[in-house]
């Protein structure tokens, strides 16, 4: 591991306070401009509507903008620069071919007549089929923009399902385990449902007894992540699903951890009524500094009628159509569908990448990916189990959760350990999630990290554990070798400064 020191090239711009890079507004000088688009002087805006307020956007030249964002980019840690073992996020390598082929579809408008976008519709239809086969489900919607929207979509469908069966009124509770991701309860709440939390048992499974007591005919369903956020496969999964079904509830599968199951097991065979997929995790689409993602939702037959419209249907000449071509009937006309959850068909640019990834790996490659991901996680776990507490000590799937409880006693927290990893040349893992593990360190290596990198990461973690004993202060002082030292988040929240001061 090597430290790089480099002067940030000097643009001569003075910043209000010491900073790595000036703000655009600090670079601004009146009269500067590029010439990307010009003209239109003949346009007339009625006085009553014309902008009176000055348009205070910064005035810059292209050379300045290019340098600014090039400098900023270089301040980021990314998958393209190093190992990014952020648990639950599957930060695997993002193949460049996926980005290139996505650009082949960039110049298509979502309102184009269907006859002019047969290539795009074919791709979407084929992707739906592949996802159904992969998950063992019967039907798929590609609309959701991310996992959370897929959850919301599914719970809306559960609601419609129960309403259709005349049980809408009585069912108002959604059950989530205490290990669930925050989006699960939040999505349930957005559908107007109460959330009942069920604790986990000693093996890191949802506690079956508590679940049964929590179940009743007022239950909409259960939202379950499998492998769960501890990286563990639910050991009594079918019993869990059966219990929910027994009271007329439905089981939602949170598929964020699908990278453990490709070709390993189909959620459709395990008792789930539906499952979403975070293609930005499992299918290698770039996370884009926070997004976009895509969250296709795969469902069993009984839920099909409630899927968002429009649906992509194939006619007997093999041409593709949107069933509610102009999607223009009053809600009733949508049949049982809950209607669209977004403006258009989905995050197409992301879905093209996912399609390309699936076709590139193929059935064998996908299975191998999950195999390698599981092996890599257990390989790391084997190296780290002595230096850190293991939350639940059994074989993990594609990720595992350590606890820094031991280090915490020495005054070193999970956060400190994460920051110390930065000084070792790694991105920290997910910390403090899942909530059930004190001082959680959630580590997901993925299948694309070379073995020597896994070994280096393990060595770094072990060095830090040692330091926590011998020199805790140095760990708490980390990072020393990052663009910035620790940031004052309390100050940020107490005195919110959410935009720059306008140029004067």
């Amino acid at each position: 591991m090597t430290l790089r020191t480099q002067m940030i090239p000097d643009s001569g711009v003075k910043t209000a306070v010491p900073a790595l890079e000036p703000l655009l507004v600090e670079i601004h000088e009146e009269g500067r401009a590029g010439r990307h688009v010009r003209g239109g002087e003949e346009a007339q805006i009625p006085a009553a509507f014309a902008r009176q307020m000055p348009l205070g956007l910064p005035e810059l030249t292209e050379p300045q903008v290019v340098r600014h964002f090039t400098h900023l980019a270089q301040l980021n840690y990314s998958v393209d620069t190093g190992m990014y073992p952020l648990g639950s996020c599957t930060m695997k390598y993002n193949p460049k071919i996926n980005d290139r082929v996505a650009s082949l579809f960039a110049d298509l408008h979502p309102k184009q007549p269907q006859s002019t976008v047969q290539g795009a519709l074919t791709l979407l239809a084929e992707l739906e089929v592949m996802l159904a086969k992969l998950t063992g489900m019967d039907a798929v919607t590609l609309q959701p923009a991310a996992g959370a929207q897929a959850e919301f979509t599914a719970i809306l469908m559960f609601k419609a399902y129960h309403q259709k069966r005349g049980e809408g009124a009585k069912r108002h509770r959604v059950i989530v385990p205490d290990t669930a991701h925050g989006t699960n309860p939040a999505s349930a709440a957005m559908c107007g449902f109460e959330v009942t939390t069920v604790k986990s048992d000693a093996h890191g499974n949802i506690d079956l007894a508590s679940l049964k007591t929590a179940l009743g005919d007022d239950v909409v369903g259960l939202m379950l992540t499998n492998p769960n956020t501890l990286g563990l496969f639910e050991e009594r999964l079918r019993e869990v699903c059966d219990a929910v079904h027994a009271v007329g509830g439905l089981v939602y599968g949170d598929g964020a951890n699908m990278n453990a199951l490709l070709g390993v097991a189909r959620p459709g065979d395990l008792g789930f009524d539906c499952i979403h997929i975070n293609v930005h995790k499992t299918f290698s689409t770039p996370h884009g500094a926070g997004g976009p993602g895509a969250g296709p939702l795969c469902v069993k037959e009984p839920l099909r009628p409630f899927l968002p419209k429009p649906w992509i249907v194939r006619d007997d000449q093999g041409r593709y159509h949107l069933d509610t071509a102009r999607d223009d009937q009053p809600p009733a006309g949508l049949g049982d569908s809950i209607g669209r959850v977004r403006t258009f068909l989905g995050n197409f640019g992301v879905l093209v990448r996912a399609y390309t990834y699936m076709r590139t790996l193929g059935e064998e490659g996908l299975a191998e990916a999950s195999n390698d991901a599981i092996l890599a996680a257990n390989y790391l776990l084997a190296q780290l189990r002595d230096s850190y507490d293991v939350a639940f000590d059994r074989p993990c799937m594609h990720e595992f959760v350590l606890s820094a409880a031991r280090q915490k006693k020495l005054g070193v927290s999970a956060l400190d350990i994460g920051k110390a990893l930065i000084d070792e040349g790694f991105h920290p893992p997910t910390v403090y999630f899942p909530l059930v593990v004190p001082e959680a360190l959630m580590i997901e290596p993925t299948e694309t990290e070379p073995r020597e990198t896994l070994d280096a990461f393990a060595a770094a973690m072990i060095r830090i554990a040692e330091k926590a004993k011998t020199d805790p202060a140095s760990v708490k002082a980390a990072p020393k070798n990052a663009p910035l030292a620790r940031l004052d988040e309390v100050h940020a929240a107490r005195y919110p400064k959410l935009k720059w001061q306008r140029p004067t």
């Binding site: 007549p113 290539g119 923009a145 500094a289 669209r340 989905g346 257990n378 620790r486 959410l498």
Partner: protein, 455 residues
């Protein structure tokens, strides 16, 4: 043998790793999985080389008619706009594209400062106090704004103008099924008088037909009734029109795609949401704030996170987690490059071309501009009846134009029983395209008049 070209593990690696774990095969780790469900045959196609997948996707792409390859007048929330060459060069750099949510600010300042600048630029453009760091896209942003109003006012009725984009209204209706909101749709002109008991009035300006709306009047009515005013807007329009912040608007939402983001057949896009300071604690989504590091250097962090799902869970202001950050960064780069003059020029060109085109089309026999009042860079056109039935005019004309490879939108039944065309212009609209449209409509209409007179 590697079936996954992106795996870095050789057989030797795997053997060594299995040994370190102390197992012979990965299956020993999968005992929790029901035997009958383990390792199913999926029936997926076999893998491909990069060369093979590239040509496969090229052949799929060749089955599409790209926007640029012929006369094109589709628009609305998604617009064919000029994207400066520097935008993708910067936005698609691996350090931005392959990073995730900046949970670790010390190694994510590139993302955080860029998003902070996006927030600041949107506030300048919209004259609002706060902009979040992105929603999924325009439609869900409108819905989340309505939810915000419901939380703020404690009321469950959402009143929405029927001149709001159809797709947005439909998305709001879907979202509304969650908290069982009452959705009322009225014509923009009746919006002000429907404020009583409403959580919010949702107005679009410029509206779906390009119409310019007196938003201030609607905002005042909303406030008088204790409701919020939500404006659906379009980025470029704000370069020339008085911005929401000056019109009394409480929450601004819209589709940010025109800010340098490709149309990509529906996404990924950029949901814009901005509001007044007073509402910030009810705002959904992430927001970046300025602070300093231990050495006193300026730095940026995700802040006000107590609104968010990972902390508040079922009490969060929204369930959104992964958002459209790279689109927000792209928009920041776009606005930085275009500057106030470039953005205004692009907007002016759309307006100028739309008015020139409306003038020509309105002069054709049987045609008339049907946007009521002034319009911006888009207008509705009433066209002669080509066939019987409720869709014999606009929708029939849209289909006839398609045969000539000219793409325009029909209002169809998206906007009540209206059967017109909607014609969008931007800086990309060429004279040749406009000539083709005018000529095509003229000849289609003419041929029909003949058949009619022929009888």
């Amino acid at each position: 043998m590697n079936n996954n070209p992106y795996s870095s593990h050789t057989e030797a690696d795997r053997a060594a790793m299995l040994e370190r774990v102390g197992i012979k095969s990965v299956d020993e780790l999968l005992t929790a999985i029901p035997k009958d469900a383990l390792r199913p045959k999926l029936g997926l196609p076999a893998g491909m080389s990069e060369l093979e997948i590239q040509s496969h996707l090229e052949s799929l792409a060749s089955k599409n008619r790209t926007a640029g390859s012929g006369p094109f007048f589709l628009g609305g929330p998604v617009q064919r706009r000029y994207i400066p060459a520097a935008v993708p060069v910067l936005a698609l750099r691996g350090e931005f594209l392959t990073a995730y949510t900046p949970y670790q600010p010390e190694v994510s300042q590139g993302t955080l400062q860029s998003i902070f600048e996006y927030q600041s630029l949107m506030c300048e453009l919209l004259a609002m106090d706060v902009a979040n760091s992105s929603m999924y896209e325009g439609g869900s942003a409108v819905a989340e704004a309505a939810f915000m109003a419901v939380r703020v006012t404690g009321r469950k009725r959402v009143v929405m103008a029927s001149e709001v984009y159809f797709e947005f209204r439909r998305t709001v209706r879907t979202y509304a099924r969650g908290p069982d909101l009452e959705i009322v749709e009225v014509a923009t002109r009746d919006l002000a008088s429907a404020a009583e008991g409403a959580a919010c009035l949702i107005v679009q300006h410029p509206d779906a037909f390009g119409g310019l709306v007196d938003v201030r009047r609607i905002a005042d009515a909303a406030h008088a009734a204790g409701a919020l005013c939500i404006q659906v807007t379009e980025p470029h329009a704000n370069a020339l029109l008085e911005p929401p912040g000056a019109l009394g608007v409480d929450i601004v939402v819209g589709e940010g795609q025109p800010l340098g983001i490709p149309m990509s057949f529906g996404g990924p896009y950029l949901g814009v949401l901005a509001c007044r300071n007073a509402l910030v604690r009810q705002m959904p989504g992430r927001v970046v704030g300025e602070t300093h590091d231990a050495r006193g250097m300026r730095g940026f962090v995700n802040t006000l996170q107590t609104r968010e799902q990972h902390i508040r869970r079922e009490k969060a202001t929204s369930n959104i987690c992964t958002n459209e950050a790279i689109a927000a960064i792209t928009a920041a780069i776009y606005l930085a490059l275009m500057g106030p003059e470039g953005l205004s020029a692009a907007a002016r060109l759309g307006v100028a071309k739309a008015h020139a085109l409306a003038h020509r089309l309105g002069a054709l026999p049987g045609c008339s501009v049907s946007t009521d009042g002034e319009f911006f860079d888009r207008f509705a056109l009433r066209v002669p009846r080509l066939a019987a039935g409720p869709e014999g005019s606009g929708y029939a004309m849209r289909n006839a134009l398609l045969v000539d490879n000219v793409l325009v939108e029909a209002t169809a039944a998206h906007y009540g029983d209206r059967d017109d065309l909607i014609i969008q212009c931007t800086e990309m609209t060429t004279d040749a395209e406009m000539d083709s449209l005018v000529a095509a409509i003229e000849s289609i209409a003419a041929s029909v008049r003949e058949t009619v007179t022929a009888r």
